[in-house]
């Protein structure tokens, strides 16, 4: 009882609060294909507690005391840090030569080692158990990135709290932040079970890529103008008109009478554009075809010029979807570079690809939904005819400037 009250006296003082740097380890994981390069900095003070490094008990550690126990230190890291790639366990390899470093609160052992995974890593699982049974307030400050330093993610790992997943295909910025903030891994006992969980929670953010697709088409004036050029004449039909006075027959644009026919026109154009750009988008993202972007951008500009001029001097009028298809192929390469800019890494491609494409289609349908009703209701008016001709000319003019600046790498106007 007496003993307790010695502690009691101290307790009242303990309430006068002080805080200090706690035990942290610094875990840097660089993912390069199927290889994970790790650098793990663990405080010598912590290692001494668990491994009793100070063999001569002089309250200081000599280099020899650390160096000769390196195998034990490496074994601790190998046992207490487990990695899985997309659900399959990765295998740790031998650690590099012993090294030390200084952090703000003392000397740390630096373990440099590699894990080999079965396949290129899309989602890295980390099961962190360092000091789980000896100091649960210890934390692993983890920094996970691809070898090129892209997709950097941070997490504070609590030991023994199960698998923490790092989603490695790069995401649109907003999605990255939320992925890194979500530090609550599903408690999975075995990494094999990990696979199912990984499929439940896709490593990339589908909505993020859909948003990216919508965004891209809505800020991509060249795509909008291309669509507009194709949509403007959809509410008209090209008909042969015979002048009753002269008897000369000419083909002219006339307001369509049949809404269904007009809608079919629109549908054909939009579908052709979708199918075409999906093909090249996929080819480019999958790295099968990768045309130089200057050519792609120039041809996209040219496609807008031609589509607009085709309205005024029709070369192809009935089967505009064919024209759309051909140029849609080029626009697909343009979308691909936008998707790559959004940070798509090689790997989990299909999801982001579909997501992005869905976004593009949504954006496209928004434009159709805005333009078509107006065009339909005004189709018989002089205003529309004027806007049609003037608009097409204007579009051709703007796109012509784009063509020049993209082909010759000048900066004339924004776009």
């Amino acid at each position: 009882m007496k003993r307790l009250f010695l502690a009691l006296a101290a307790l009242i003082l303990a309430a006068h609060a002080h805080a200090h740097k706690a035990s942290d380890a610094y875990v840097t994981l660089r993912v390069d294909g199927a290889t994970v390069d790790a650098r793990i900095d663990i405080a010598l003070r912590d290692l001494d507690r668990d491994l009793d490094l100070d063999t001569d008990a002089d309250d200081q550690l000599s280099w020899k005391e650390v160096r000769t126990r390196w195998a034990d230190i490496a074994a601790l890291a190998r046992t207490d840090i487990r990695l899985s790639a997309d659900g399959a366990r990765c295998t740790p390899e031998a650690a590099d030569a012993p090294a030390l470093t200084q952090h703000s609160d003392g000397t740390y052992a630096v373990l440099r080692m590699q894990w080999q995974c079965m396949a290129p890593v899309q989602q890295l699982g980390v099961d962190y158990r360092i000091f789980a049974t000896t100091d649960p307030t210890h934390r692993g400050i983890a920094r996970v990135a691809r070898a090129d330093a892209s997709t950097l993610q941070l997490a504070v790992l609590s030991p023994g709290k199960g698998w923490h997943r790092f989603r490695l295909p790069a995401l649109p910025v907003a999605a990255t932040a939320s992925a890194a903030a979500a530090d609550a891994p599903a408690p999975v006992a075995q990494p094999e079970a990990d696979t199912a969980a990984a499929e439940d929670a896709p490593p990339w953010s589908f909505p993020g890529f859909v948003r990216e697709g919508v965004h891209h088409i809505l800020i991509g004036y060249d795509h909008i103008l291309f669509l507009l050029s194709l949509l403007l004449p959809a509410v008209w039909t090209r008909s042969a008109v015979t002048d009753p006075r002269t008897g000369v027959t000419r083909t002219r644009w006339l307001p369509a009478r049949n809404l269904r026919l007009a809608l079919t026109n629109v549908l054909k154009v939009v579908t052709a554009f979708t199918v075409a750009h999906s093909i090249t988008l996929a080819l480019s993202v999958l790295d099968i075809v990768n045309p130089p972007s200057r050519w792609v951008e120039s041809i996209i500009a040219a496609s807008v010029v031609l589509a607009a001029l085709n309205n005024i001097w029709p070369v192809i009028s009935e089967a505009r979807w064919k024209l759309t298809f051909v140029f849609g192929l080029v626009h697909g390469f343009g979308f691909a570079s936008a998707l790559k800019d959004a940070g798509l890494a090689k790997g989990a491609l299909v999801g982001p690809l579909v997501g992005f494409n869905v976004g593009v289609e949504i954006g496209q349908l928004c434009i159709v939904a805005l333009v078509l009703p107006v065009a339909w209701s005004l189709r018989g008016t002089r205003t529309y005819r004027g806007a049609f001709a003037g608009g097409s000319l204007a579009i051709a003019g703007v796109a012509g400037l784009w063509l020049v600046q993209r082909a010759f790498d000048l900066s004339l106007i924004a776009g």
């Binding site: 009250f5 012993p98 470093t101 000896t134 100091d135 903030a181």
Partner: protein, 434 residues
């Protein structure tokens, strides 16, 4: 749970900001050339080589025994208490984790034994999780079957937490229970704790002179300024801090006595703060040199260097840079319990008055110790934001507290005199304290 949430929030905010900090974390590798090179100094054990070896062996034996019998509560509690004691001595928060690890089989259980909940409360309050600590303590005190010594300890710890939070009436009620009939069977030492606790609370509510006399009497000293040999170190520390608040120069001798009895990091830093106020920076360096592993020690050393050599001297800058790295590391793991000290760091070492004020304000939001008052007052004054210190003046008006260090012009100037409290309830509450 709140820690997890706060950590997540901090992480989300840090995703961008922390990246450069992390680049710096990739610190240079070292490959010592000689086997006998000393690469790290461990927390030192007391005594000569043989005693140190024995102490180390005892720690190891305790850990091994616990590993073999992890379910033995007595063994686990002993290991936890030893860890907490080491933590207090060295100012090392790792020991809180060691205490937690020792009690792992009971730690997360709602029906944990009261002794375990008491340790849990101590760990939580050391992590500045004051409300969570109170939940544990209230649970211990709510059980009628808890052993009296455990109850007494819970009562005292609870009073301490309430005092840190500025809930003086709650704290006072707890201290009064300790001197009451309930704990009479436990004898004089509990009574002494209770009386000292009541006196300290009174000193924080405008009765500093009588409190000083009471504490001197409890310490067995013939007068307020002298130190009785054999008096407990914590009582000397309590008296030293009170003397410091009163601007009484006897604080120095009392701090020295407290430190002699109890050379822990808290006492070292408290003494160092007094020495810094007295412009005795050389003494601070002599006192603390070699213990910079603890963050609060490093802060005082850096402040002493600043006093001795100026803010831009290499010594000051190196110490400040290292301290900044440690605060960054703490922020990275979501630990925001450094506010009081970090505010001083920003104000006195980095000269960032805005950051200092923000930290002092968020710290004041949580805890209301005299040192928190000083930090907020200084930060507000430096930022020329009198309004920011208003909650502090309000608190002092309500409690009747005074502190020489809050005086305009430094610790030796005229003490700040708070306006008289207007609330009759408060007046009545104050009359009830001795």
């Amino acid at each position: 749970m709140t820690i997890v949430a706060a950590t997540r929030l901090a992480l989300a905010l840090l995703v961008g900001a922390a990246a450069p900090a992390f680049a710096a974390e990739e610190s240079a590798l070292q490959f010592p050339a000689r086997d006998d090179a000393i690469v790290e100094h461990l927390p030192s054990h007391v005594g000569d080589a043989a005693e140190r070896r024995a102490a180390r062996a005892a720690e190891r034996a305790q850990r091994d025994a616990l590993q073999r019998h992890p379910d033995e509560l007595g063994l686990a509690l002993q290991a936890a208490h030893d860890a907490l004691a080491r933590g207090r001595l060295r100012g090392d928060p790792r020991e809180l984790g060691v205490a937690q690890a020792a009690l792992a089989p009971w730690w997360t259980r709602a029906d944990a034994p009261p002794e375990v909940r008491l340790v849990r409360a101590t760990v939580l309050q050391s992590q500045h999780e004051f409300n969570a600590a109170l939940v544990e303590l209230d649970a211990v005190l709510a059980r009628p079957d808890v052993a009296l010594p455990v109850r007494a300890q819970a009562e005292l710890t609870r009073a301490g937490v309430q005092q840190v939070l500025g809930h003086f009436a709650e704290a006072d009620a707890g201290c009064r229970r300790l001197v009451g009939a309930d704990y009479f069977a436990l004898g004089a030492s509990v009574r002494q704790n209770g009386l000292a606790c009541i006196a300290e609370l009174a000193s924080l509510q405008g009765h500093a002179d009588t409190a000083a006399a009471t504490l001197a009497r409890l310490a067995g000293a013939p007068d307020a300024g002298s130190v009785a040999p054999g008096a407990p170190g914590w009582l000397a520390l309590m008296r030293a801090e009170l003397a410091q608040r009163r601007g009484d120069p006897s604080a120095g001798a009392l701090f020295a006595a407290a430190l002699k009895a109890n050379p822990d990091v808290y006492t070292q830093c408290a003494y160092a703060d007094w020495l810094l106020d007295e412009h005795r920076a050389a003494d601070v360096v002599a006192l603390l040199k070699g213990n910079e592993a603890a963050d609060p020690v490093l802060l005082r050393v850096a402040l002493a260097y600043r006093q001795l050599h100026g803010r831009d001297s290499p010594l000051t800058r190196d110490a400040a840079a290292m301290l900044g790295d440690r605060y960054d590391a703490a922020l990275l793991r979501g630990d925001r319990s450094h506010g009081r000290e970090q505010s001083r760091f920003e104000l006195d070492l980095r000269g960032d008055t805005r950051a200092a004020l923000a930290l002092a304000q968020s710290n004041w939001h949580v805890q209301h110790e005299p040192a928190d008052e000083v930090v907020l007052a200084h930060a507000a004054r430096a930022a020329r934001r009198d309004d920011a210190a208003e909650p502090l003046w309000q608190f002092l008006r309500e409690t009747g507290g005074r502190d020489a260090r809050l005086a305009v012009g430094g610790p030796n100037a005229t003490p700040f005199l708070p306006a008289p409290a207007t609330s009759p309830a408060l007046q009545a509450a104050r009359r009830s304290t001795p």
